[in-house]
């Protein structure tokens, strides 16, 4: 069974600074996606970034980038130039892409509550 662990329940960062959120996962699969979602107080779950396991290049989306270490099963999210609107719960999630495996479900970590301070 796959598991996702986020070891930082809460973090804070000053506006305009950089912060890194940690995520580790456990799987025996080779074909999978990893995601970061954010859930602001409005509770809408918003996709931040996606990483395909077979791609060595780390995914980036504007101020958001990941450090994907497949051998170490680590998937951290770096937020550069933090903005007040980045305040949210951040969830790391795993999706198995092997046909015949547990299908359709994202497996989420417990989340990291990020506060961006002015």
């Amino acid at each position: 069974a796959q598991t996702v662990t986020q070891s930082q329940p809460e973090m804070s960062v000053q506006e305009a600074e950089t912060v890194t959120l940690s995520c580790t996962y456990d799987t025996s699969e080779n074909n999978y996606y990893l995601f970061w979602y954010k859930q602001p107080p409005s509770r809408q779950m918003i996709l931040v970034i996606r990483q395909e396991a077979y791609k060595q290049q780390n995914a980036t989306e504007n101020r958001f980038s990941v450090n994907f270490q497949k051998a170490a099963k680590s998937f951290s999210l770096k937020i550069s130039d933090s903005q007040l609107g980045d305040t949210a719960m951040y969830f790391c999630a795993f999706m198995n892409r092997r046909y015949g495996g547990s299908q359709g479900n994202l497996i989420f970590g417990k989340g990291t509550k990020l506060s961006v301070k002015p």
Binding site: Y33, F35, Y37, S42, R43, Q44, M45, I46, L47, R50, F91, M95, R97, Y99, S102, Q103, G104, N105, L106, I107, F108, G109, K110, G111
Partner: protein
């Protein structure tokens, strides 16, 4: 392009009643997923529907059920409500089925008294 929509926003029921939650996927998406986000339990997968069929379900009792309509919208039914069913229920949709990125709706907050 409209995102995933869910209704109602809030739902208050008493123990033993039935609740029905609705979800409309992003236009063109055929897969719909349901998740429960309960306090202290995190996000847990409930159900996956694709092309009108239930394709997978999480570790939930049979009183959690649902269906998907020909227009790909979906409803989640929870029978014989229990206090611990109080949670945020999130619906997601994806374009190409089980191996594709899921996009979430705003959720329905169910409170069981």
């Amino acid at each position: 392009e409209a995102g995933v929509t869910q209704s109602p926003t809030h739902l208050i029921k008493t123990r033993g009643q039935q609740a029905t939650l609705r979800c409309s996927p992003i236009s063109g998406h055929t897969s719909v997923y349901w998740y429960q986000q309960a306090l202290g339990l995190g996000l847990q997968f409930l159900l996956w529907y694709d092309e009108g069929e239930e394709r997978n379900r999480g570790n939930f009792p049979p009183r959690f059920s649902g269906r998907q309509f020909p227009n790909y919208s979906s409803e989640l039914n929870v029978n014989a409500l229990e206090l611990e069913d109080s949670a945020l229920y999130l619906c997601a949709s994806s374009l190409e089925g089980w191996s594709d990125t899921q996009y979430f709706g705003p959720g329905t907050r169910l409170t069981v008294l």
